[in-house]
C-alpha cells in the first residue's frame, strides 16, 4: 500500500491554499462536492486551449483528438470500476441523479408494472428515491423499503420477504448521512437469487475505495464526477453490456441515433444510444485526470487514509465532548465511509455550521437529500463533516475546536 503524504496532496488543491481571515480553509464537505487538484483544472483548461471541438464525426485533427480523449475517459472510468467491457458499458450523464433516472426511465419503464415491486432502503439519497416514486406513480408498481436500525445498519431480518419476487434492488453502497458501508455483495446475491436486478448507488463509494462491479455483483452502478475530484456536469452509469443493449433509449437527439426518418429512427450502438446531444466533453477530460490522480494515490491507500482519519475524528469528538455529541451511524470506522453526521448539544445544525464557517471550517447542515432517513432519525437536519484525500488530523482538530466556539456562543453560560 502507498504511504499517504497529506501535506503534499493538500498542496495540489488550489482552493485549500486560500486564506479567509488569515486562516486556510478547512474543507470538510467533500460528501457534498469535492475540490479539484491542479492536474484536473489543467487538463480541462489545456483541453479548451488546444483541442476543443465537438466529438464524433469530425474529420479534422482537433475533432479527432477531442473524440479520442472523450472515449478514453469512458474507457478509463470503465477500468476504474472494473468493468468487463470498459469501452461499451459506461454512459456519461450530467450527474449521478440523471444516471438513476436513466435506469428508471428505460429499464424501469420497460419492465415495471402493476403487481410488480422493487426494493429500496430507508437510507437512500433522494436521487435513488424520487425517480422510482415518480415512475411508480405512472406505472403502478410498489416500493418496499429495507428499514434502518438504531445503530445505522440496514435491518435485514425481513430481507427474504422484502426481496421475494422483487424486480430490482436499489441500494446505496455508502450512506451519505450515516456513513454506513452496506453489504451490497451479499444483498446482490440474495436479490439475484430472486431474479431481481441490483442498482448500486456509488456516489459516496466509488470516490473512496477500489471498486469492482464484478465483486459487488451489481447490474447498474451510478456515480458522479464532482464528488471524486472531477468537474461538475458529469455523471457515470455503468451497466452490463447485455442490459444496456436491451434497454430502450432514454433522451432523444443527435449522437444517440443511427438513422432518423420523418416517421421514426434507429438507435445507435451502446453506449452512445444513451448519450443524446453534445456530451460533457471537457468534463470527461477532467474526470479522466481525476481518475489518474486517484490511481496515482492508490485507491487502497485512499481507503486506508479515510478509515484512519474517520477513526481519529470519532475519537477526538467523543473525547472532547463525551455525551454532548451524538455520532450517527455504525461504530467502527471500517464499517463506514468518511462521513460523520452528528448532533451537538441542542444546537441547531445550521447554527453550528454558521459558527464553524466563521472559524474557517466548512461542514454541511441539512437533510442531505435524505428526508425519509431524517424522519427515521427524528431530526429535521444533521451537521455533517466529511473527509477526503486532502484532509488531515489538523482539519479534525480545527473541527473540534470550532465546535467549542459554537458551544461558547450559544451556551447558557
Amino acid at each position: 500500500m502507498n504511504t499517504f503524504d497529506v501535506a503534499a496532496i493538500k498542496a495540489d488543491f488550489p482552493i485549500l491554499q486560500r486564506c479567509f481571515n488569515g486562516r486556510k480553509i478547512v474543507y470538510l464537505d467533500s460528501a457534498a462536492s469535492s475540490q479539484r487538484p491542479e492536474a484536473v483544472l489543467d487538463a480541462m483548461d489545456t483541453y479548451y486551449r488546444t483541442t476543443h471541438a465537438n466529438v464524433h464525426r469530425g474529420v479534422y485533427a482537433i475533432a479527432e483528438e477531442a473524440t479520442r480523449l472523450f472515449e478514453e475517459a469512458r474507457h478509463a472510468y470503465g477500468r476504474f470500476v472494473g468493468a468487463p467491457d470498459p469501452a461499451h458499458e459506461v454512459v456519461f450523464t450530467k450527474n449521478a441523479t440523471e444516471a438513476v433516472n436513466l435506469v428508471a426511465g428505460t429499464w424501469g419503464r420497460a419492465n415495471l408494472g402493476p403487481g410488480d415491486h422493487i426494493v429500496l432502503t430507508e437510507m437512500e439519497h433522494h436521487a435513488n428515491l424520487v425517480p422510482w416514486l415518480m415512475l411508480s406513480e405512472q406505472k403502478g408498481f410498489s416500493i418496499r423499503y429495507i428499514p434502518v436500525d438504531r445503530s445505522g445498519w440496514l435491518d435485514l431480518s425481513d430481507i427474504d420477504a422484502l426481496l421475494d419476487g422483487a424486480k430490482l434492488l436499489g441500494v446505496t453502497l455508502v450512506s451519505n448521512v450515516l456513513g454506513t458501508l452496506n453489504p451490497v455483495a451479499e444483498l446482490a446475491a440474495l436479490a439475484h437469487a430472486q431474479g431481481a436486478l441490483v442498482l448500486a448507488d456509488g456516489a459516496q463509494f466509488v470516490p473512496h475505495m477500489a471498486t469492482s462491479v464484478t465483486a459487488l455483483g451489481c447490474d447498474f452502478l451510478v456515480a458522479t464526477g464532482h464528488k471524486m475530484l472531477g468537474p461538475t456536469g458529469i455523471g457515470m452509469l455503468w451497466a452490463r453490456r447485455a442490459l444496456l443493449e436491451e434497454m430502450p433509449p432514454f433522451l432523444g437527439g443527435g449522437e444517440m441515433i443511427r438513422d432518423v426518418r420523418l416517421d421514426g429512427f434507429t438507435p445507435n450502438e451502446v453506449p452512445w444510444k444513451f448519450e443524446a446531444g453534445t456530451p460533457p466533453i471537457a468534463e470527461a477530460v477532467g474526470l479522466a485526470a481525476a481518475l489518474s490522480y486517484l490511481e496515482g494515490l492508490g485507491m487502497d491507500a485512499v481507503r486506508a487514509h479515510e478509515i484512519a482519519l474517520t477513526g481519529y475524528a470519532m475519537d477526538a469528538l467523543q473525547h472532547a465532548y463525551g455525551d454532548e455529541i451524538v455520532l450517527f451511524g455504525p461504530d467502527g470506522p471500517s464499517n463506514r465511509g468518511g462521513v460523520l453526521s452528528f448532533a451537538f448539544k441542542d444546537l441547531h445544525p445550521h447554527d453550528i455550521s454558521q459558527v464553524l464557517d466563521a472559524e474557517g471550517v466548512c461542514i454541511r447542515a441539512g437533510h442531505h437529500c435524505a428526508k425519509p432517513l431524517m424522519r427515521k432519525l427524528d431530526v429535521s437536519a444533521t451537521a455533517r463533516a466529511s473527509f477526503y484525500v486532502y484532509n488531515d488530523e489538523q482539519d479534525v482538530e480545527a473541527l473540534v475546536k470550532a465546535l467549542g466556539k459554537a458551544d461558547e456562543l450559544f451556551g447558557i453560560g
Binding site: 479567509f20 454558521q354 429535521s380 437536519a381
Partner: protein, 184 residues
C-alpha cells in the same frame, strides 16, 4: 467580510435562550398556522388570538435555528397587543429590511467577486422563492428605529441563506392574519 457578530447579536442570543411567548393556544378559539422552511426542513407554528382587530395573544411553536427562534420571539413581542393593521405594517417593514438590495451586501466574503452583479437581483432571488413583488427598497432610519430590538436582525441580510430563517415566522404570521381576515 461579515462577521458572526453581525448575525448573532447579543439581543438575538437572548431571545434564543429565553424565547418569549413560546407555547400553544387552544384552537379554537385561537387560529393555528404552520410555516415550513424548505431549505432546512424547519417548521414554525403561530397561534393567534385576534379579537376586534387586536392581536390579543399569540404563541410560537415548532423548532428551528437560533435565528428563526429569536426572530419569532421578537416578532411575538412586537405585535402582541397591536392592531392587525399595525402588525401588518411591522411585517412589511421587517420584510423590507430583509430584502435589501444585493449591491449593499458583501457576500463575497473575501472571495473573487463578480463586479457585474445585475441590478435588482435581491439576495432572496438567489435560489430562494420569495414573492418577486416584495418591496425591495431598504428601510428608512425612522422605520428601523420603530422596529426596536428587531433591527438587530438586520445583520442577517449579510448571510443570504439565513434570510429565510428570519422571515419564516413573519411569513407565517402574515398568512395567519390573512386566513383570519378571509374567514371573518
Amino acid at each position: 467580510m461579515a462577521g458572526l457578530e453581525d448575525l448573532y447579536r447579543e439581543i438575538i442570543l437572548d431571545h434564543y435562550r429565553n424565547p418569549r411567548n413560546r407555547g400553544e393556544l387552544p384552537v379554537p378559539p385561537a387560529h393555528r398556522t404552520e410555516g415550513f422552511n424548505p431549505l432546512c426542513g424547519d417548521e414554525i407554528v403561530v397561534y393567534l388570538s385576534v379579537t376586534d382587530g387586536i392581536v390579543e395573544d399569540l404563541r410560537i411553536g415548532g423548532q428551528g435555528c437560533s435565528i428563526s427562534q429569536s426572530s419569532a420571539s421578537m416578532m411575538s413581542a412586537a405585535v402582541k397587543g397591536k392592531t392587525t393593521a399595525e402588525a401588518r405594517r411591522t411585517i412589511a417593514t421587517f420584510k423590507s429590511m430583509m430584502s435589501i438590495h444585493e449591491s449593499t451586501l458583501d457576500t463575497s466574503a473575501g472571495l473573487a467577486s463578480d463586479p457585474e452583479i445585475p441590478e435588482g437581483v435581491s439576495s432572496e432571488d438567489s435560489g430562494l422563492d420569495e414573492d418577486p413583488s416584495d418591496e425591495l427598497r431598504p428601510p428608512s432610519e425612522a422605520e428601523l428605529t420603530a422596529l426596536g430590538d428587531l433591527a438587530a436582525l438586520q445583520g442577517v441580510v449579510k448571510f443570504p441563506v439565513r434570510i429565510k430563517c428570519a422571515t419564516l415566522s413573519w411569513n407565517t404570521l402574515a398568512q395567519g392574519l390573512d386566513e383570519i381576515a378571509t374567514s371573518a
